[in-house]
């Protein structure tokens, strides 16, 4: 018989039961607002049952259903009394406890006994599984958690790398410079057109010299010392003057000297 093991509990139950319905048990005698906090701390009926079992140091594999059920109901009653919103699961569990208790009361046919399941088996299985998970949850919570206990390291470099700026190399710079030069050359072309003015200027110069000398040998119009550009412009000026019939260019025979004179000189 396991009578001795049951004795302390039985004694306690008897004492508790010795003063029935007078007031809530001593360990429930808590200021009302504190009670709410405690009751809300339970994660459900299994949590509450585990608390009761562990507090009373009950053998979870051999739960004394009567005291457990009574204490459980007292808690549930306290919850209702404090207007705590009572989850339906608490009432379902209450019904289950009462059912198990009453099934334990039924006499069992001796022959069937070894085969018959203990009515508490399913409850014990669930309590053990819940307790296991509850402990596991606490252990999980103790693992260092990213953002709470550890921070991922990211150096500033990461952000500047993330913003992709275009790559520039010397080749690109050279291209850009070449483009600039090209455009400069285009505008330089307009300056060439202004050079036409200088052709006009040389046209005037040629005419001015012909005013003085009437007739000049072709070669005398040119001054090689002033450079090729001036030679070219002077030639253009002579050709333009001839085209506009302001001068006459004559040559008596092949390879003879070429003479230039004012077109209207003879009309004078």
């Amino acid at each position: 018989m396991s009578e001795p093991a049951q004795l302390p509990l039985a004694g306690r139950v008897a004492r508790l039961y010795g003063e029935p319905f007078i007031e809530i048990p001593r360990d429930l005698y808590i200021p009302p607002d504190a009670l709410e906090v405690i009751l809300e701390a339970f994660e459900g009926p299994l949590d509450l049952l585990l608390y009761l079992i562990r507090r009373e140091n009950l053998d979870i594999l051999d739960i004394p259903m009567a005291p457990l059920t009574r204490q459980y109901l007292e808690y549930v009653e306290a919850m209702r009394a404090t207007n705590l919103e009572l989850a339906a699961e608490y009432l379902v569990m209450a019904a289950m406890l009462i059912e198990i208790k009453s099934r334990l009361l039924l006499p069992r046919p001796p022959a069937a006994e070894p085969l018959e399941d203990d009515p508490r088996a399913e409850l014990v299985r669930r309590l053990l599984e819940y307790e296991r998970i509850k402990k596991a949850a606490q252990q999980l919570d103790q693992l260092p958690q990213l953002g709470r206990d550890v921070l991922a390291v990211s150096v500033w470099v990461e952000r500047t790398v993330a913003e992709r700026l275009p790559d520039v190399n010397p080749q690109d710079l050279a291209e850009a410079w070449r483009g600039l030069l090209h455009r400069a050359r285009l505008s330089a072309h307009h300056r060439v057109s202004r050079e036409e003015l200088s052709v006009r200027e040389h046209m005037s110069g040629v005419l001015r010299r012909l005013q003085e000398r009437r007739v000049l040998e072709f070669g005398e119009l040119f001054d090689p010392a002033r450079g090729v550009a001036v030679l070219v412009v002077t030639l253009l000026a002579v050709l333009e003057l001839a085209r506009e019939t302001l001068i006459e260019i004559t040559q008596s025979e092949n390879f003879a000297p070429i003479y230039v004179k004012l077109a209207h000189a003879e009309s004078h």
Partner: protein, 195 residues
């Protein structure tokens, strides 16, 4: 291929620049896949050694390697934070534990274990954190979603695989209940008095 010292520097730069774990495959790409897996792991182990004793450590996680601060310096880091990161409630942690240890599970399974209804909010909290996701549906009426933990969950808790989870404590060595006529008898005798 760079010499080992250079290779470690390259790894260090790549890992320091990434707040996310960098996979071994990505790290190998740093060297145009010219460095073998074993060599790479040795280099990473050496790099981790190099950083020992610093406030930052190199850790190996489910999806790769990451530099992170050591937990003992978190209280100081928090002094510079306007608000502390909230802790998850017991309900959230228990739900997470059930999914982690018993996956894949349905919401019904979670409710059976916890003995209370699992609110949508709890599931959402874990989904938003990226720690759980739906991996399928059980072929029962209603086709309830089956939840499992993600790689992010392992990464964020500093684990490489589910095998590294803290072992479930054996609360009782056996679930087998004795028919135990002896304990039942006196209790049955007590019952009428108690009830």
């Amino acid at each position: 291929m760079p010499n080992p010292t250079e290779a470690k520097r390259i790894l260090e730069a790549a890992l320091l620049a990434s707040p996310e774990p960098v996979s071994l495959a990505d790290l190998r790409r740093l060297f145009d896949d010219q460095v073998g897996g074993d060599t790479l792991k040795n280099l990473l182990d050496e790099l981790r050694e190099d950083w020992s004793g610093r406030a930052v450590e190199l850790v190996s996680l489910a999806s790769g390697w990451r530099f992170q601060t050591r937990p003992e310096f978190q209280p100081f880091a928090e002094k510079l934070q306007p608000e502390k990161p909230p802790r998850y409630s017991r309900a959230v942690m228990e739900t997470l534990a059930i999914i982690a240890y018993r996956q894949p599970v349905t919401r019904g399974d979670i409710e059976d274990t916890r003995g209370v209804v699992v609110s949508t909010q709890i599931i959402q909290t874990l989904e938003n954190r990226g720690w759980i996701d739906v991996v399928g549906h059980r072929d029962t009426p209603g086709r309830p979603a089956l939840y499992a933990t993600t790689r992010t969950f392992l990464d964020d808790l500093g684990l490489r695989s589910l095998q590294e989870l803290p072992p479930l404590e054996e609360i009782a060595k056996t679930l087998q209940l004795e028919p135990a006529p002896a304990p039942v008898a006196p209790e049955a005798a007590n019952e009428p008095a108690a009830g």
